[in-house]
């Protein structure tokens, strides 16, 4: 594995910045760098987390390193007119202030070529719909950590349907499962950040 992969896997942000510049100097395109080094590193650390071998701070260190590397690549991607895979509006639902998992999902989606509009926490259904319209979003991603706030997801799903908005709704968060997602009429569910990317791509296919 190359230096960039190692830097992101280990969560070493300064090294990641250096390594991404090295990769560019070696003639790699931003998308190749993302696909060949950055995403595999994030997927690998995600798998380590799932297996209980690393902890949340490790995931966050990796996400931080990835973000710093992406910040270098983004202007180059725009200059090269790299097209986005799709546009995602993401947020933690109203009444819930937890955003660590949601931010990880946002980082992963961004790394895989999605344009991500991160609305933060405590987001109302009106705000989700407004942002989806403003940005011509393909997907709305809803996150919740509390069993008492996950019920608000149904209100968002219902509001999106009532509005007639042509957008898919994905849900995720510690207390959720596929059964819950099906019950509230969500289009997709994922239990972790890696899987969220797969589900999002599937929804757009």
């Amino acid at each position: 594995m190359d230096n960039l992969y190692q830097a992101i896997f280990k969560g070493l942000a300064p090294l990641a910045k250096t390594a991404v510049k090295e990769s560019l100097d070696n003639g790699k395109t931003p998308q190749d760098i993302i696909d060949e080094s950055m995403i595999p590193a994030m997927e690998a650390i995600g798998q380590e987390f799932e297996a209980g071998r690393v902890f949340v701070p490790n995931l966050l260190l990796s996400a931080r390193a990835m973000k710093m590397a992406l910040d270098i690549l983004k202007p180059l991607m725009l200059a090269g007119q790299t097209t986005t895979v799709g546009t995602v509006v993401i947020g933690t639902v109203k009444g819930d202030l937890h955003d660590i998992g949601k931010n990880l999902v946002a980082s992963m989606l961004e790394g895989r070529g999605f344009k991500v509009i991160n609305l933060g926490t405590d987001v109302s259904k009106e705000r989700f719909i407004e942002a989806a319209k403003e940005n011509d979003a393909d997907i709305i991603c809803l996150s919740a950590l509390l069993t008492t706030t996950m019920d608000y997801m149904k209100e968002v799903v219902d509001a999106v349907k009532a509005d007639g908005l042509n957008v898919k709704v994905m849900v995720g968060g510690a207390p959720l499962n596929q059964e819950f997602a099906d019950t509230i009429g969500a289009d997709g569910y994922s239990s972790n950040a890696n899987e969220a990317v797969v589900v999002a791509k599937k929804l757009l296919s």
Binding site: G11, F55, V56, P57, N58, L60, L61, A63, R64, K94, G95, D96, L97, I100, N103, D122, L145, L146, T147, T148, T149, A174, P175
Partner: protein
């Protein structure tokens, strides 16, 4: 009604509890993460003024799911109620790491470092819990205290936070409650200790709890 404020030094903050709050249950973070946490503890903890308020009211268990505190009916549900045999009084409390900590944490968050934000969040949780520990130390009455129980845990609907707050003056310790029952400052705690001469203090039974959706499972 008792209301107090106190400060803690970085050295008084139990590191083990911080590691636990960060998700390290039977282990400790690697050295670089410990160093980051210690740096943040040194920076943030001196800024915090911890506050708490409590009162002792008459209490009774009226059904396997319900209790009455100061004449008001609460529904903490079966898990918590199973620990309340012998309860005659309850110590109702609200504690907070305070607005000063909240502002310091928000300033850190604005810098965009998600790792520091996560660690600061964990430190804040420990500070808030320290108010509960202090309340327990304060209590010098004749009764046995149960473990503390809070709305939002063990199936107790967080919406009952409003009912609990209705038994306190407005903005106790500066804490406000949102429409969706979340407290601000974010790092605040509320709940009750059951009291009783014959009450037996029992540990949390997460290991036998069937609520697989609880994100606070202590055996997770």
């Amino acid at each position: 009604m008792v209301e107090r404020a106190f400060k803690v030094s970085p050295a008084e903050l139990p590191e083990k509890e911080v590691w636990f709050a960060m998700g390290y249950r039977d282990s400790v973070p690697e050295e670089r993460i410990q160093e980051m946490a210690r740096g943040l503890i040194g920076e943030l903890v001196p800024k915090a003024t911890l506050r708490y308020t409590y009162q002792i009211v008459e209490a009774e268990k009226i059904s396997p799911r319900q209790v009455r505190f100061a004449g008001k009916t609460f529904t903490p549900e079966g898990i918590i109620c199973s620990y309340l045999k012998g309860m005659t009084h309850a110590l109702l409390f609200i504690g907070t790491a305070g607005w000063e900590y909240d502002r310091a944490k928000e300033a850190l968050k604005a810098e965009g470092d998600i790792v520091a934000d996560f660690i600061a969040d964990s430190i804040g949780s420990v500070l808030a819990e320290m108010t509960v520990a202090q309340i327990e130390k304060d209590y010098d009455g004749p009764h046995t205290l149960s473990m503390p129980y809070s709305p939002g845990y063990c199936d107790w609907n967080i919406r009952e936070q409003h009912l609990l707050f209705s038994l306190f003056p407005e903005r106790p310790c500066g804490v406000i409650l949102s429409e969706t029952s979340l407290m601000a400052p974010e790092k605040s705690v509320s709940g009750f200790f059951a009291l009783g001469e014959t009450l037996q203090r029992q540990p949390y039974h997460c290991q036998i709890c069937k609520n697989s959706r609880c994100f606070k499972r202590r055996n997770a």
